[in-house]
């Protein structure tokens, strides 16, 4: 037996099920998912619409609670955390990127990226510097004072990526981050996520149904009808 302490996976889920009520019918989004995602991994969650990709990311990100099963983030069972602890987990340990960017329209790019540090009480000088560096890293150093309505879709998503990484999270959850982008921008955003994840040592989980992105992922978890249909590791993938 080895004496070394094995590092807990960043995410581990067991028997995860989640249903939603739509009209009079119960729609089962997840029907018993078991999964482990390790530190620094880049994982693409693939599958057709309605396969449960977003639901899985919501549960991993402590945005929602499962009907049954358990979610562990860095070894901590989310069911044991209170509302405030879940909020702090999202604020400090996780980063989120959404399909519709969800930037705050009244804040400029720098202020949007700075926001996670503002709510965490980071001193102004430090957070300004960190936000500026994060924007630099996504190639938007020249667009810091632009508000979202003056940025293109690709630029907005790069701001959202900078916002997701500025507080140096342990993992980034990106739910269809390229869904609103053209193929050129989609690829650039995906590669940026992958590169920055590597650079920060962050685990990156991306949901998508874009075959081009799936082809570039070193690990692809394919969901079908709320179950893991395939969990494929491909060390040769370009990202």
């Amino acid at each position: 037996m080895s004496g070394a302490v094995r590092e807990a996976p960043v995410f581990r889920v067991e028997g995860l099920t989640r249903s939603y009520r739509v009209g009079d019918a119960d729609v089962r989004a997840l029907a018993g998912v078991d999964l482990e995602i390790g530190s620094g991994e880049l994982v693409v969650v693939a599958g057709p619409s309605g396969s449960g990709k977003s639901t899985l990311l919501h549960l991993l990100g402590a945005l929602d609670a499962p009907d049954a099963g358990r979610v562990f983030v860095e070894g901590r069972d989310l069911a044991t955390l209170g509302e405030r602890q879940r909020t702090l987990l999202r604020r400090r340990r996780l980063g989120f990127v959404f399909q519709a960017f969800h930037l705050v329209p009244v804040l400029d790019a720098l202020e949007n990226v700075e926001y996670p540090l503002v709510i965490d009480g980071v001193p102004r000088a430090e957070r300004r510097a960190r936000a500026a560096a994060a924007l630099d890293s996504v190639g938007l150093g020249e667009r810091m004072s632009h508000r979202p309505d003056r940025l293109s879709g690709g630029e907005r998503q790069r701001v959202a990526i900078a916002r997701a990484l500025v507080h140096r999270p342990r993992a980034v959850l990106a739910d269809e981050p390229t869904g609103n982008l053209d193929s050129g921008n989609a690829l650039r955003v995906f590669e940026l996520l992958a590169a920055l994840g590597r650079e920060h040592g962050a685990t990156v989980v991306v949901s998508t149904h874009d075959p081009e992105l799936v082809a570039r992922a070193p690990r692809v978890v394919t969901l079908r009808d709320g179950r893991v249909a395939r969990d494929e590791r491909r060390p040769e993938a370009v990202s």
Partner: protein, 417 residues
């Protein structure tokens, strides 16, 4: 997130929908201005009524024989018996007190006035000292003729001021002679011919039908007494009434025949009634303003939250606490209240100055004779109170929607269309 950060972000959020924010600000501003203007009107009315009471015949303090004072009512037209014999000594003691401008003696009379052509009308009269009343700031509202002479008239040269209604009933004008008949303290009748020096108004329609004023010396001749009914004390500042009351009571304590020292407010129940009525109207109007502002502001706040459900979901997703979300939304409401109140204060100030400059007049109030100037006082506490009230009202209106927004399920909020 520090309160400063929350305030800063909240202010930015108000700029999202400028038209709606401007509309809300206009409602709050109009409400604040309405409060400021109404408070100015009410304050001016109080001040005017108080001054009219004090300088129209009550003085700031009344000194009367305690037993006589207890036996009569407070009103001007209910004569007190001439029970104050050593009034000159009492006056000397009082005129030495701080804030006292003068102390005037009054002798109250009731009787019958008769004109040369035989018309008789009952009167209530007061014998007074015109020189001292002038020093006390008493007003004589002459409609005809002239005021009473400052010096006490010699026997046979008695004069009187008749209130307008009484002069009309008797059919006399300034310069004509009327005969006054009154009972003496001993119960006998005495008569005195007086020349009508002038026709006045008391400002109160009912009293104008019966009132006359004559010099104290003439009144004493008619009543055949050297005593007076009471002494009226005038002060240089109405705010000193409390201190002067205490000083007068201390100065007059220990007399064999105790004296009652009564402040003007206790002798003017009408003032209290009017004040209560006006305050009631002010509170009623304030309640309407608050309800309107709450309704308008609630609508704005709820709309503003409904439009931002996805954003609120995003902010919650990336780690904003429920308390931070609620604080942000409440801060937006507080900004609306503060900025609206600031605009309302400026609007109210402009309205007060503008209306005062316009020199408008209002019809006589019930029971009064003359129209009154529409003037508004600047009431600093109305500006401050109005502003605080608006902020408080907006914050209270925001509490429920803010709490609801903070408790939105994140996933539902993110998927909100």
């Amino acid at each position: 997130m520090s309160p400063l950060e929350i305030a800063r972000l909240a202010l930015r959020n108000l700029a999202r929908n400028r038209r709606r924010t401007a509309l809300s600000l206009a409602v709050v501003a109009a409400g604040t201005a309405a409060l400021v203007v109404t408070a100015g009107f009410v304050r001016f009315s109080f001040d005017g009524l108080r001054a009219a009471m004090i300088h129209g015949g009550l003085g700031h303090l009344e000194i009367a024989d305690a037993a006589a004072a207890a036996a009569r009512g407070a009103a001007l037209d209910r004569p007190a018996s001439p029970a104050l014999a050593d009034w000159r000594e009492v006056r000397r003691a009082l005129e030495a007190l701080p804030h006292v401008t003068a102390v005037g003696a009054n002798l109250h009379l009731m009787g019958l006035a008769q004109s040369a052509d035989g018309r008789s009308v009952s009167f209530v009269g007061v014998g007074a000292e015109p020189d001292r009343e002038r020093r006390m700031g008493f007003e004589v509202r002459l409609r005809e003729g002239s005021d009473l002479p400052a010096a006490a008239p010699a026997p046979g040269a008695d004069a009187a001021l008749l209130a307008r209604g009484l002069a009309e009933s008797l059919g006399v004008r300034a310069g004509e002679v009327v005969t006054l008949v009154a009972t003496t303290p001993e119960g006998t009748l005495n008569a005195l011919d007086v020349t009508v020096a002038g026709v006045v108004t008391t400002g109160v329609a009912e009293l104008d039908t019966r009132f006359l004023k004559l010099p104290l010396a003439s009144a004493q001749r008619l009543a055949q007494t050297d005593s007076v009914s009471n002494l009226l004390v005038g002060l240089d500042d109405t705010r000193a009434t409390g201190a002067a009351l205490a000083a007068a009571r201390a100065a007059l304590a220990g007399r064999a025949a105790p004296l009652a020292v009564t402040p003007w407010s206790e002798r003017a129940p009408f003032y209290g009634q009017v004040r209560d009525l006006y305050l009631g109207i002010f509170v009623f109007l304030g309640t309407i303003v608050v309800v309107l502002v709450v309704l308008a502001a609630s609508n704005t706040l709820v709309m503003s939250i409904m439009e931002r459900v996805r954003e609120i979901g995003t902010l919650r997703a990336i780690g904003t606490g429920r308390g931070q979300i609620a604080a942000l939304l409440v801060a937006e409401a507080a900004w609306l209240g503060a900025l609206g109140a600031l605009a309302g204060a400026a609007l109210g100030l402009g309205a007060v100055l503008g209306l005062n400059a316009a020199g408008l007049r209002m019809p006589p109030p019930p029971g009064a004779v003359d129209p009154i100037d529409l003037r508004l006082a600047l009431v600093p506490e109305a500006f401050a109170g109005g502003a605080l009230l608006m902020i408080l009202v907006l914050v209270l209106a925001a509490l429920l929607p803010a709490a609801r927004a903070a408790r939105l399920a994140i996933v539902d909020a993110l998927g909100h269309v």
